[in-house]
Symmetry: C2
């Protein structure tokens, strides 16, 4: 019997899936989980995801961590850095703890935690292969959890789910239309993900382009630029 | 200013959309909304959608209506007919009232009603053009509401949303990733929707094929076989 794989397109649908019996991959491609992979790849000791700016400030002070997070495309008041993966090169982040506040990804992670997920990982194109290899080796049921945008399904998280499925589907039983749809979408888009997002007027494409962040989008849609496996343990995302 | 169009992929996401300011198209391709279009096309006086077998029996008795509905692929106990569009030819249904119990589609319809939708229609491939023409003529905001399956996103309802979008997108403002995804999916699938459902292992394809209902699936995926416009008014679906 092969393990099952499901794709949950929005946090508002998570209750429909058997979380407590699964590895949950948290997907927030633009840009939380891409930045998490990048910071850890560049030597961050760990990343602590928190759900509010005030909690970020408080925790950053307590543990002498780097506080980071944005609201409406700007570094949030009281924090030091933003959500861009380019803010966390090795020479800056190595050996440090990043306290990162994001909205959609952090919320989904805490939901998966509350529902008793067997294991929680974060996935993004920069760490696509690590995620796939881990899921193949684990032989456990998998839920690909898209963080979406305020519960609305989004394109880039769905595309990442499709990318994972395209690489590992043969080892899983997939009775899940969302997964087959994500797989089809990715097959159509994979030649040029940036161009696909642009042509299909993806909402985050527009939002981030409006902030002048084309470089971020391109990096976050490129496979294996920070190919590590962030696993959630006791409040922290750490490398395996 | 063009009106907006959004696609809601599951009833569990309906709260994210501005229902009270929109026409809502209820989509339950396999088979509720296909059967509704067919019964009305063949001269049914109206279709009354109800959410339980007991309510169906009660109402059928009160108004001397045809009671219909299935549970697990069988005509539900106490009802007279099933969910197949082929059960409602003109020689049988003309001039009669069909009391139809379905789960997913009826529930979504009632949710849209409670949220104060401006107008509620039912959409399916058999009445694709009527729905599109009406939406184009109305110049109102539109929500394409997929009934899904117990809140899980499904392929055929998403494909129908994509079919509508492919025909009317130029007249609407679409800031909605779900809509762009549905459009892309439909573009990929439209050459042979049945084959696409089969190849992509759509869950309802398997379920209905298991009941020997290939003919139903093929009919329900074919455009304009019952090209009428069911509009919900005071508890009933009627032709405009």
């Amino acid at each position: 019997m092969r393990p099952t794989l499901h794709t949950c397109l929005s946090p508002a649908l998570l209750h429909l899936y058997d979380v407590s019996n699964s590895i949950v991959v948290i997907i927030d491609v633009l840009r939380a989980t891409s930045t998490i992979a990048t910071a850890l790849y560049n030597g961050a000791r760990c990343v602590i995801p928190v759900d509010s700016v005030s909690r970020c400030i408080e925790l950053g002070r307590q543990i002498d961590g780097i506080t980071a997070g944005e609201r409406d495309g700007q570094v949030a008041e009281g924090l030091s850095y933003g959500n861009s993966p380019f803010e966390y090169p090795r020479e800056f982040i190595e050996g440090k703890t990043l306290v990162l506040t994001t909205t959609n990804g952090t919320r989904l992670l805490h939901m998966a935690l509350e529902k008793g997920a067997k294991e929680i990982l974060t996935g993004s194109f920069p760490n696509l292969s690590s995620v796939c290899n881990h899921l193949l080796a684990s032989k456990q049921n998998v839920i690909l959890g898209c963080a979406a945008w305020r519960d609305k399904v989004n394109m880039e998280d769905t595309l990442f789910a499709g990318a994972v499925i395209s690489k590992i589907s043969q080892d899983f039983t997939i009775n899940c239309d969302s997964s087959h749809m994500a797989d089809t979408l990715y097959a159509k888009a994979k030649k040029d993900l940036f161009d696909f997002m642009k042509k299909n007027e993806a909402s985050h494409y527009h939002r981030l382009m409006g902030f002048g962040l084309e470089k971020d989008i391109r990096y976050c849609l490129t496979a294996d630029g920070a190919n590590v496996l962030p696993i959630y343990k006791e409040g922290k995302l750490l490398l395996n």
